[in-house]
């Protein structure tokens, strides 16, 4: 499909490619909402906090299943967790290359896995705090808070990365996560 898009790209000044399906978008913004709610709005140690945590875990679980059976751009194979690729991408960027990635770019892919892993870790330690075995155990509580802190840092980096890539590659990534389409500037190489 990409081949044909590239062939027609010479004619169109800029073209739109549908990349994020509605399920990916819904899960993304729902997950962002749960992190916001549990981090800033809902009181800790409340029932609501627990439930929102479980919902966040459920969202990540659904996304992982979707990454196995979903469409092309949503799959693991579209954004393999590869530090080597991320490094190559970084070097290419330093060299001034502005390739557009239809799915996550290699650096973004690492961030995606990092955020999912952090959410799972926060969720699991949070659940452990409600069990009799681990209730009041200090290291569990500490881990829960430290990992949540890491999650917040990651989210901040994620937002900064999105802002940077939008400026660098000229593809508005926030809009792509809202309406699902990336608008690719003319004559840009696509991966």
């Amino acid at each position: 499909m990409v081949a044909i898009e590239q062939r027609t790209s010479g004619r169109a000044s800029a073209r739109e490619v549908a990349v994020w399906d509605p399920l990916v978008r819904l899960i993304h913004w729902s997950l962002a909402l749960t992190i916001l709610l549990n981090g800033a709005i809902v009181e800790e140690e409340s029932k609501a906090h627990e439930w929102i945590g479980y919902i966040a875990l459920g969202l990540v679980a659904l996304r992982l299943i979707w990454a196995l059976i979903g469409p092309k751009h949503a799959r693991f194979s579209a954004f393999p967790p590869s530090p080597a690729r991320a490094f190559r991408h970084l070097r290419a960027m330093v060299g001034g290359e502005k390739t557009v990635h239809l799915s996550h770019n290699p650096l973004g892919a690492l961030m995606v896995y990092n955020i999912w892993a952090s959410v799972i870790a926060v969720g699991v330690t949070g659940y452990m705090m409600t069990t009799i075995t681990f209730f009041g155990v200090e290291w569990v509580e500490e881990a829960h808070e430290v990992i949540f802190g890491w999650l917040l840092i990651s989210v901040a980096l994620h937002v900064a990365g999105v802002a940077f890539d939008t400026w660098w590659s000229g593809v508005n990534l926030v809009r792509a996560m809202i309406n699902g389409r990336k608008t690719i500037p003319e004559g840009r190489e696509v991966q």
């Binding site: 499909m1 898009e5 062939r7 399906d21 059976i69 469409p71």
Partner: protein
């Protein structure tokens, strides 16, 4: 080119609704799985009817979610195929128009006028856009019809419509039997056919 008969918007709405359902049903499924798990931990055996029913509900919900996911993927791939077809048609039409113009040896000005004729502008409108007298445009149009061997505006436009309809036919069979590249390359013999007609 507006092809209004593609119900793209409806399909998109359908995909969004499907995604919303998957989200809600998926979360419910996980809730049931969790509930069964904890009840089982408390109770220790599966023979009580409450737990049995709950397990069945959990399995059914999970199966439903997977089914909906597959359905959504199919819908999305149909939408993407349709878009690819449209892209090919759009891009291809532009190539064909250019090639026809070249073959008829239209001058630069005549090409501009010809494109505007194809877009449905009348001579007065074209004259206004190009900032010339409408007599000039009429002369250019006459020259275009002569070079393309058509006897007027309607027949001139129909040359391209014919190619578009034939092109769609080919796209459909090409998409079914061959890889995508062949869809593009196997156009040449048919186009020669068309040149003979003109």
């Amino acid at each position: 080119m507006k092809l209004g008969f593609w119900p793209a918007k409806t399909k998109e709405r359908r995909a969004t609704v499907l995604a919303g359902l998957i989200l809600l049903q998926g979360l419910s499924a996980l809730f049931f799985v969790g509930d069964v798990f904890f009840d089982f931990q408390d109770d220790g055996h599966l023979d009580n009817p409450h737990l049995l029913l709950e397990s069945i509900a959990a399995v059914a919900l999970i199966a439903g979610v997977i089914f909906l996911m597959i359905e959504l993927r199919r819908l999305l791939s149909r939408m993407s195929d349709m878009q690819t077809g449209l892209d090919i048609a759009h891009g291809h039409m532009a190539t064909i128009v250019e090639e026809f113009f070249d073959e008829w040896n239209l001058t630069r000005a005549e090409k501009d006028v010809a494109i505007m004729i194809l877009k449905g502008l009348d001579n007065d409108a074209i004259a206004r856009v190009r900032n010339t007298a409408s007599g000039t445009v009429r002369a250019q149009a006459t020259s275009i019809y002569a070079k393309s061997q058509s006897d007027g505006r309607a027949q001139f436009i129909s040359l391209f419509v014919e190619e578009l309809i034939a092109g769609n036919e080919r796209l459909r069979t090409g998409a079914e039997y061959g890889p995508e590249n062949e869809v593009i390359t196997d156009h040449s013999p048919d186009r020669n056919l068309c040149k003979e007609k003109t």
